[in-house]
């Protein structure tokens, strides 16, 4: 079931009205929710951005879904990066100022995994964006037409959930 939903997510994102750039921006933005621990203030702000900015929402959810296992797998790396940054004497002044600034502590930036994963997301944002844009464009150009003739693809897209979603959003297949 989860796998089916992932496929539907993928199909929605890749075939939506959005341009490859919008889908890629959505995926790059959505990946933050999977890469960094979810319950932090910065994710709430970025979720608001994802809604307000004209990026593909299915792309956001696809990026999120795909980044979750990556986030779990890379936690030890994020932890090491976060510890190095938070423990760096040169940055002590910055962290102290942020720690003692209103609201900022709710981002939990002072946790090694949160900071490490957030920095990793910032660094990976553009690579994810360009990679995804290229991938979506190639997909729509070469694979989509062949895929839509496959029975499995038709079964997925014909599911009730998908139809409902399609009718609500108006996105075409």
């Amino acid at each position: 079931m989860l796998f089916l939903k992932l496929i539907q997510q993928l199909v929605k994102a890749l075939n939506s009205d959005g341009t490859p750039g919008q889908v890629a921006a959505g995926m790059a933005l959505g990946s933050v929710f999977g890469l960094t621990p979810l319950m932090n203030l910065h994710n709430l702000v970025l979720f608001g951005c994802a809604l307000i900015l004209n990026v593909s929402l299915p792309g956001v959810f696809l990026g999120w879904t795909l980044a979750v296992p990556v986030g779990f797998a890379l936690d030890p790396l994020f932890d090491a990066v976060g510890k190095a940054l938070l423990g760096a004497p040169a940055l002590k002044g910055l962290w102290t100022a942020l720690y003692n600034t209103p609201v900022v502590p709710f981002t939990n930036f002072n946790n090694s995994v949160v900071l490490g994963s957030f920095v990793a997301w910032v660094v990976l944002f553009l690579p994810i964006f360009f990679l995804a844009r290229h991938g979506v464009a190639k997909y729509r150009e070469h694979i989509y037409e062949r895929l839509r003739r496959m029975r499995f693809f038709q079964a997925v897209t014909a599911s009730g959930w998908y139809s409902t979603y399609k009718s609500l959003t108006g996105w075409k297949l």
């Binding site: 608001g48 900015l53 936690d75 932890d79 002590k92 962290w95 102290t96 609201v103 002072n110 946790n111």
Partner: protein, 617 residues
């Protein structure tokens, strides 16, 4: 293409409304769970809270039914509070800090029974970050290691088996052997260095020059000859000076090392005194010192009072860290890796947790010394004292007692604002009902009835000084053993004999004073116990058994002396060998160098005609 999707503002607004609604619905539950989880982690045992109610617009929080389990007695609560009314600082919440400006406490009770155990599951207890288990076991281990004298006289009146004193267990022998080995090693190394710095070639060469010049003078040598001779003398004098400097440095070093060894040899006498005491314990001869007897009689009871004090002092260290340097702690538990959370405190800002002022009434149950109604005030309870910048202070006084005229005042301050923690606690209880003591070592029970208790503790850094004193003028005594059997004649040194002797010594005492003092390093302080009861018992014992004790002590001393004398003599011999060997050799070398130097100086003066400062061309 537009960058913003303005129509999304409506769902975003709805989302925010849903979040706010969910928060207002569940915030009380979240606070309750947070207090329980945080409290459990801090205490190391279950913390229960019946309900929490946040009034955000009134900036107040009401907690009801707070029960904190005593980690050392899981079926008992450390304390229980019916209601806590907190006025909270909303501004501090923006910094993710919790600051309660005032707290009114209602219905605080200590030591109440729990319906279910408050112990944590083994796994959770092991990982509880603030768990007190390790601190408690450290303090208990200290108490266990502490050697309290015993009032066991069974060795008296019997043939003493001094052969049981084993040479391996005597500190003097080990120390003497180590000293002898050090002496040998030092003698070898000094011998090599003395040989390397041997000034004899220089001395011999100087003497040869002096002999060669004999009675030569300016007239017999001529100007050129005298100049050459003077130059030779100066060169040789320089060589003598260099050689003497080497010998002097070596002599200084050797003397320092030998002096150090000499001090260690002096420690042999102290070690021998310790070995006498050890051997005396081994053959069960009690000390007749009143302090030792007081410790034997009241030591266990004093430890019962002191162990919790030490435990709380050390827990205060754990929960009230000093300094404002960045700190690290384990991250929050979650599905993702917890990581490490760094804290970057700054002085005089909001600490992570602070109760500025709390006041309330509380009650101690039962019919013990402390039972009654109290009024207490606490200020500056915080997890970051250095950030808050003010010490934690507390004061409690009794408003009503269970029975009789009572006065109890407890005050204290825990100052962890600086680099070195400074804690002071004092308690004065007058006219209170005091508990009865079972003096197991004497087969008697001492009922202190009504009296006074004073307690004071001062701690600075790793140093602690404390005193616990109990006084009573109306003590009652009773025997805990078989009275008939106790009155029957008993063999010298038997338990019954000791019981009877102690009973005769103390049963007429009405004024009793017991004082336990603790001092030294916080991790392993020493304990001294004194009491007029100990003095009375010591006097009676001296009268009854001093001859017997002296006889056995003499045997024990003779046994220790026979075991250690050979090694001690050997160690002292090694020291003497250093004095007569390398040190004497160095002194002789100094003398030889000085002698030949004086001879050459004389010769030089005669060549230059005795005119100071004159140099031949």
């Amino acid at each position: 293409m537009r960058i913003f999707r303005w129509k999304a503002l409506i769902p975003l607004g709805l989302f925010v409304v849903v979040v706010v609604l969910a928060w207002s619905l569940y915030v009380d539950r979240l606070i309750r769970l947070g207090v329980e989880a945080g409290g459990t982690a801090a205490v190391g045992a279950k913390v229960d809270l019946r309900s929490a109610r946040l009034h955000l617009f009134q900036a107040s929080l009401v907690l009801r039914g707070l029960a904190v389990t005593n980690p050392r007695a899981p079926m008992t609560n450390l304390f229980e509070v019916d209601e806590l009314n907190l006025d909270i600082n909303l501004r501090a919440l923006l910094w993710k800090k919790f600051v309660a400006e005032t707290v009114a406490v209602r219905g605080l009770k200590f030591g109440t029974a729990r319906k279910t155990s408050g112990a944590l599951p083994a796994k959770q207890a092991a990982t509880a970050p603030g768990g007190e288990a390790s601190t408690q076991s450290e303090v208990e281990e200290w108490a266990h290691r502490l050697k309290l004298p015993s009032l066991d006289l069974q060795g008296l009146g019997k043939a003493v088996n001094v052969a049981g004193v084993s040479p391996d267990s005597l500190r003097t022998i080990a120390l003497a052997r180590a000293l002898a080995a050090k002496g040998d090693s030092l003698k070898g190394s000094l011998g090599q260095r003395v040989a390397a710095a041997d000034p004899r070639p220089t001395v011999d060469s100087a003497r040869a020059l002096a002999t060669r010049l004999g009675n030569a003078n300016l007239r017999s040598l001529g100007i050129a000859g005298a100049r050459d001779a003077a130059n030779s003398i100066r060169t040789t004098l320089n060589a003598i000076k260099a050689s003497r400097d080497r010998v002097t440095a070596l002599q200084r070093d050797a003397t320092a090392q030998v002096d150090s060894l000499r001090r260690q040899v002096a420690a042999l006498d102290r070690a021998r005194a310790d070995d006498y005491a050890y051997a005396r314990r081994l053959v069960q001869i009690p000390s007749l010192d009143p302090k030792d007897i007081s410790a034997a009689l009241f030591g266990p009871a004093a430890l019962q009072k002191l162990v919790p004090t030490l435990l709380w002092t050390r827990l205060a260290d754990r929960h009230l860290p000093t300094g404002v340097a960045p700190r690290r702690k384990a991250g929050p538990k979650r599905a993702r890796m917890a990581g490490t959370t760094f804290v970057f405190p700054v002085p005089h800002r909001y600490p992570a947790f602070l109760v500025q002022f709390a006041e309330g009434t509380f009650e101690l149950g039962g019919r013990t010394t402390m039972a009654g109604q109290y009024l207490g005030r606490v200020t500056g309870v915080t997890t970051e004292p250095a950030v808050y910048g003010k010490p934690l202070t507390f004061a409690a006084g009794r408003e009503g007692a269970v029975a009789g005229p009572r006065s109890i005042e407890v005050t204290g301050s825990l100052d962890h604002t600086g680099a070195v923690p400074h804690d002071v606690v004092s308690a004065d209880l007058a006219g209170v009902r005091l508990p009865a003591f079972d003096l197991g070592a004497a087969g008697a029970r001492m009922d202190l009835r009504t009296g006074a208790v004073n307690f004071a503790l001062a701690r600075t850094g790793d140093s602690v000084n404390g005193r616990w004193r109990v006084r009573s003028d109306s003590v009652g005594w009773s025997r805990t053993g078989d009275t008939v059997a106790a009155n029957a004649p008993a063999p010298l040194g038997s338990r019954a004999w000791v019981d009877a002797l102690v009973w005769r010594a103390v049963s007429s005492l009405r004024n009793v004073e017991v004082e336990a003092a603790i001092s030294g390093r916080l991790s392993s302080p020493s304990v001294d116990v004194s009491s007029n009861v100990g003095g009375r018992v010591a006097g009676a014992l001296r009268q009854a058994v001093s001859a017997e004790v002296s006889r056995v002590e003499a045997q024990v001393k003779a046994r220790v002396d026979s075991l250690v004398s050979q090694q001690v003599t050997a160690a002292k011999g090694k020291l003497a060998a250093l004095d007569t060997g390398p040190l004497k050799s160095l002194t002789d070398d100094q003398g030889a160098l000085n002698g030949v130097e004086a001879q050459l100086q004389q010769k030089l003066r005669s060549l230059t005609g005795g005119i100071p400062g004159l140099r031949l061309p």
